[in-house]
Symmetry: D2
Subunit: 264 residues, 4 copies
Amino acid sequence: MKIKIHFECELQLAAAAPTILQLEAADIPGAQNIESSSLKIEPDVQTEEFLDIYKNPCRRLLMPAGDVRIEYNSVVELPDKRGAFIEPTEPDILHLPTDMLTYTLPSRYCQSDKLVKMANDTFGSITPGFARVQEICNWINENITYQYGTSNSGTSAYETAAERVGVCRDFAHLAITFCRAMNIPARYVSGYCLGLQPPDLHAFFHAYIDGRWVVFDATERQPRPALIQIAAGRDAADCAWSTFYGNGSTRSMQVDVTEIEEEE
Amino acid sequence: MKIKIHFECELQLAAAAPTILQLEAADIPGAQNIESSSLKIEPDVQTEEFLDIYKNPCRRLLMPAGDVRIEYNSVVELPDKRGAFIEPTEPDILHLPTDMLTYTLPSRYCQSDKLVKMANDTFGSITPGFARVQEICNWINENITYQYGTSNSGTSAYETAAERVGVCRDFAHLAITFCRAMNIPARYVSGYCLGLQPPDLHAFFHAYIDGRWVVFDATERQPRPALIQIAAGRDAADCAWSTFYGNGSTRSMQVDVTEIEEEE
Amino acid sequence: MKIKIHFECELQLAAAAPTILQLEAADIPGAQNIESSSLKIEPDVQTEEFLDIYKNPCRRLLMPAGDVRIEYNSVVELPDKRGAFIEPTEPDILHLPTDMLTYTLPSRYCQSDKLVKMANDTFGSITPGFARVQEICNWINENITYQYGTSNSGTSAYETAAERVGVCRDFAHLAITFCRAMNIPARYVSGYCLGLQPPDLHAFFHAYIDGRWVVFDATERQPRPALIQIAAGRDAADCAWSTFYGNGSTRSMQVDVTEIEEEE
Amino acid sequence: MKIKIHFECELQLAAAAPTILQLEAADIPGAQNIESSSLKIEPDVQTEEFLDIYKNPCRRLLMPAGDVRIEYNSVVELPDKRGAFIEPTEPDILHLPTDMLTYTLPSRYCQSDKLVKMANDTFGSITPGFARVQEICNWINENITYQYGTSNSGTSAYETAAERVGVCRDFAHLAITFCRAMNIPARYVSGYCLGLQPPDLHAFFHAYIDGRWVVFDATERQPRPALIQIAAGRDAADCAWSTFYGNGSTRSMQVDVTEIEEEE
């Protein structure tokens, strides 16, 4: 499947500010191939590309003062759906690649240390592995109401567990928190998504089962047909599409994700 | 049933401090009759008796500096168990005595405004009235672990709902919060209790159903045989056994509640 | 000074809901005299007047389903400014009227038990009484930024103390919390205010000093010229202008408070 | 300066549990040289050494069920005190090594996103660089009370900022939070410390100024004479001396840190 991504936004900064951008689809050979990609910033400004500690591609720049317009276009090739896979199981902490251990620990928005009992009481009797993480997604779907305006950039999984409303970011944080509370490595993924209404950036998550990261989307019972990863990290703090070290505000943002029908 | 209460404690204050004491069993004609009662403070100090805004009897005094010993003894007559009562139902807010409305609002330890969705999702389909409040107690019993040292005087129902551990005070706060979130007036009750292990002061709650306050104890599936009310209020902030307006600490406390076997 | 108040709002309810209204200026002889007053609800519906446990006048009604319009008009006479008063001092807890003790305790939005150290460190060395409460207002003015949209109906003084942004409600909660943390009885007041930009309902507070409630407004260094009390209670939970026991939303609200120029 | 470290503890596990240990002093050539080191676990069990994502040395093992005793002994050579250094200044985000950017973001115990205003109001006018971070330490010293038993493993900087009590861990978290809120990269360091009363593990922090990590200790106005690093990470979640993936409890722990007097 070929996916066309169009992102544009208008920013306004009172003064020039160092800025990190993390909005381009990642190139993950075999899983997510970037066929073409362009990023345009107006006024024109130099950017420095680098990998963050999680190996996500980022850009650093001095965002100029005044009105700024950013436009990103890309075509991404996603491989065909995998066949039914062998039942993935939860990893043995003793044999987990050690770089994965950090994803079992609590983080800013995922206080897994505080929800250990809730997680174990609710999911402790489910078969470990894929089934358990899927049940976490199902439970969140049934118990958390998706509603814009009910949470903000400070909202964490601890609050979502009690208040039971939120948006995709909160859904992902709560799912990750439950996974970690049960010693399943889990990480937050920011990305683009086909068919989202209204169109927006999306948040989903990865659970490490069966020796690899498996995609889950707590806002749907099934992962949506095309989830395109931008960045993966401990939680939303690691994956903001823009981080201004200064005062900036986003005046408008538009995201379009469409499937390119291939001609026969 | 006749119950003998013995309470004693040793305090130590760096300086004399105005203090409110709320540790004597309330005299509730027909429901809880005080047969005898004595309160001794050493060194001897005058106390002023008054009713707080909830009509709970209290004493105000200037607690002297240094070591203080308080001893309270009482014999309380509890009427025989009531017969099975007509199914109590939840009150219609429109016809509720207006003094009860305050018990539908959130308070310091009972943030019922934040748990509306959890309460409705969990208990919304249960038959209103006695059955619903009883189910709230059952749910708390099954889902919250009773464990000393897991909470403190700052812990509120919001935290207990997420962390799922606590003591009697936390159990009562969470039950009250769920009731209020569903528009059932509920209040916190501090008191003495027969058969508590280890012996201690106790916390339980009242829900207003069928036109009167009905006793519930979220730490047990059934209200214990002898619950003796000291004070009732919005939550533990209104019912502290002692409130020092100064620096004081309790060095030791002992509570004994025993049934007086009546001779034939 | 004569003040004309006009309040109107449009509500929309999915189903009829028991509702408490607390939006009429209180009649406080000598301090706030109601010269005329009318409340109109469309469609017409019967209301029951009562006093809540704090003696605030309230109305209870069954708010009908669909669109509802409420209009309230009143003329209030405020006495001339008092002359400079004798230095009001903080009350001795031992001789405080006992009904005031409840206003020294923590409540839903005023966790004074948690800010004892901050309050004492910041205000402990200020002369007790009027000067101290005024300094609390000054400190809040200097340290908290007034900004719409930074807080919501769940925000409490604990959060405002850390995050340092809020609206009048948050300013009042924080001031009350600091007062109580220092054993000064303090209560929340909802009301109307002359000259507020943009026009809105207002929140201010009372501190009990020198044997009476003294008005303070933490959003200004001086109490504004005309503050008209609707209700007073522990915090905003006790003084909501409307409490729906059901699902209702306010579609629009308009408040006008003007001074009536008296003819010579 | 030569420092001798002795650590021992007794654990009890209901069942064998995968465990990460992070209690050995790090070998940092030039800054902290390990002269000798031994780790003994009874009963004897194999451990796997690895570096975590922050490059801290760790050990992974299957901690056996029942009673376990761990003993660690080491001699560490610390270089002589550096001379007065050139005034270190705060980094320019644009030229900061990109691996440092993660230390400007909020984390589990350091919600720097929520304390931006408090940090800027309190420290915004201080000369950037060493002076500013030192002032953060001074402010914490003056405003936070060091007291055992006032915080626990769930306590975060947000709470410490409001409640103003804590232990070394909380002091470090709050200092790091203030640094990050002002865009100064800062990280948590667990370690051993000479002269701590009572002897215990210690927590301090690093701020990235003048192109390198500089040591600060928010519990003292001056960094103590001998601070020995075990691990550095975003906050305490990354640097726990032991992480049990199962149920274990520490029954006793003893730490001795002494200076070895060198013979002439």
